[in-house]
Symmetry: C2
Subunit: 386 residues, 2 copies
């Protein structure tokens, strides 16, 4: 599978925090999808595969609105924020196996002007991260919002390894710094210091306000095809060297796992590196799904950029900033660019590998890594090259 499939088009809407932007989640994704299809030099009619995120219903909603008349591959990965990157490898397999020629992966939502995440209390277990466990054991006791769930893992890491708030802050500061070089970022023009971070209100100990990702409106999308078909298209293809995904066990519990830090990435990361034939030292930049600061630290450990327990020191001293040893989330991430459910991490990786990242370009970027993370530890990873 290595290098047999690639990303040939990316599209994004404006990212914003505006009440009443008037765009539904479907409309945002359609706009981004249309942009990605056009950027790829394709027509909607040629898109014959769609991997919809669960928040827009089924693929036919997208197909009917875009005009994809020959839809012959449609599948949904139900892994929350891990879904987009997990979909990349499934899309790669689909085009290589001939199940589709051009697969669209759209994402995003009206996370600011529409229903907020913390209001997602539903009897539909399929829509709740953690499913029945969360519905029956977390929600009734007031644990209804993601910062509450995920702060447990951060606190445990602090307890076991001495990780400090200033280290989580270093992550938030790095993302914000990168956003200053990204005009699309919602936090562009709004720099932040470590003092600002430490002064922000505590929401769910140890998570402060600035440990949490943004709630924004926005959509983004990518188009995947075979390396062979990519030759006829306008942009330099970005090759999918290797990808993998995994789920912790039991997937839908945080508190009852034998090892709280054994996430889906524990399964996925070594598999992706083996498929790609590279190691963490070959990676020029990483786009790490950053729903909260600690999740970046955790994933850097899981992927193997440092050992378990060493993530705190690793993120300090500018190592994950532009110009550092491993620039992370060069666009600003969910923390400072926007929350398009992780597709934005892929589009930024494509920009970096095309050399189109302007003021935040990583010099000589050849190989990048992108992760997805969601639903209490589902993990996905893709290794991309120019």
């Amino acid at each position: 599978m290595r290098d047999q499939a690639c990303i040939v088009g990316i599209g994004e809407t404006e990212y914003c925090r505006k009440p009443g932007s008037g765009m539904s989640t479907l409309a945002l994704q359609l706009k981004a999808a249309a942009g990605a299809i056009e950027e790829a030099g394709l027509s909607a009619a040629s898109i014959d595969g769609i991997m919809p995120f669960p928040n827009v219903g089924k693929a036919e909603e997208l197909a009917a609105n875009l005009g994809c008349e020959n839809l012959r591959y449609a599948a949904t990965i139900h892994m929350g924020g891990a879904a987009p990157v997990a979909s990349l490898q499934a899309a790669a397999a689909a085009v290589v196996a001939g199940m589709a020629n051009y697969v669209l992966i759209p994402g995003g939502w009206n996370g600011y002007s529409g229903p907020r995440v913390r209001q997602t209390v539903s009897s539909d277990t399929a829509s709740i991260p953690g499913g029945t466990i969360a519905r029956d054991y977390y929600l009734p006791f007031g644990m209804t919002a993601p910062p509450q769930w995920y702060s447990l893992m951060a606190r445990r890491h602090m307890h076991e390894f001495g990780t400090r708030s200033e280290q989580l802050g270093a992550i938030a500061v790095a993302m914000r710094k990168h956003a200053q070089q990204n005009p699309r970022a919602v936090m562009h023009g709004r720099p932040m210091t470590l003092d600002d971070y430490m002064a922000s209100p505590m929401l769910a100990d140890p998570y402060r306000f600035f440990d949490c990702c943004l709630e924004t409106d926005g959509g983004s999308a990518v188009v995947v095809t075979t390396a062979e078909r990519a030759r006829d298209l306008p942009h330099s293809p970005v090759y999918i060297m290797g990808g993998a995904c995994g789920q912790p066990y039991p997937a839908d519990e945080i508190t009852n796992r034998r090892d709280i830090f054994r996430t889906g990435l524990t399964i996925a990361a070594p598999e992706a590196f083996a498929k790609a034939g590279v190691t963490p030292t070959d990676i020029d930049f990483a786009q790490i799904y950053d729903c909260f600061t600690f999740e970046v630290l955790q994933q850097l450990e899981e992927v193997g950029f440092c050992k378990r327990g060493e993530g705190g020191p690793f993120v300090e001293g500018g190592r994950i900033e532009l110009g550092g040893e491993l620039p992370v989330n060069t666009h600003g991430g969910l923390l400072s660019e926007a929350h398009s459910l992780g597709i934005g991490h892929i589009t930024e990786a494509v920009r970096q590998l095309r050399g189109e990242a302007e003021g935040r370009q990583v010099a000589n970027a050849e190989i990048g890594l992108v992760t997805g993370w969601g639903d209490f530890g589902d993990g996905s990873v893709a290794i991309l090259r120019r």
Copy 2:
């Protein structure tokens, strides 16, 4: 992809119509899945891929209950009754691409003792066949039940091609006849004549009571792996020669399609035959998704067993019965065995190709075809060989 993946295990619960059977949809699927895993000679721990049907939520519900600790591939095909067969090709691609070693595809539901199909009126568009179109334009006007939706296509076929009720009846009679050779069938021991069929009450013209599939409780499941891994397992593998799926356009409308008979099978069937390297004349038996009688006739045309408009005469004279030219639904199908959402068509094909179909065995069965159909014309097809 041809012959590189195969089905190595099948499992089924009892099929029944009992109020208060006490089995949830999840429990039924788990029981069938455990059976399929055991029949394949595997342990639950070795199952690292699951393709859940949407009615059980996410893969982790199944993984946690079965004990699949290393789940690294999970995807859901949202195509209603076309999903199980569409999942077969996705599972084949997954194992061939190394995304998983053993993929479980479970199905079924408590369709008798639980909520009935005609009661599925929900604001959740993802759960309604036809999505927003059905919600906004069909349901408010009293078109809430599948026989109402699908009878439109049957009536149109009668109008255009002169298809007659007796021909739909021939399909119902053939399925019932086959069920007499299948002790698992709910209609085993309850034969039916064409006169019985014609005397049954009209529900949604031209659909009579006996044009409609059964509402039953039951689960079934299959396990897919690579041809190489299959060599170490106890049963003769059933090879996936070729598979494909497709969606009509617009997928979520019946009444507004330019061509009401252009379904997903129009896209999928030629693709599957091309992949498999065979033609309709090479097929020894067909398991056709039979939510209603006419859908069998329609699919026989779409797959290419006869030309469009000729399905009526084709199904007459015992041609689709055991001993006929093309035995169809040798287990009795959804009409007379049980409604496990289409997985039962796959398990029966496996039994036929293993030579384990006992009194209903098709002599010298070498190549079989299975279809899935759902959500207003999504179609899927797999060609299997012993």
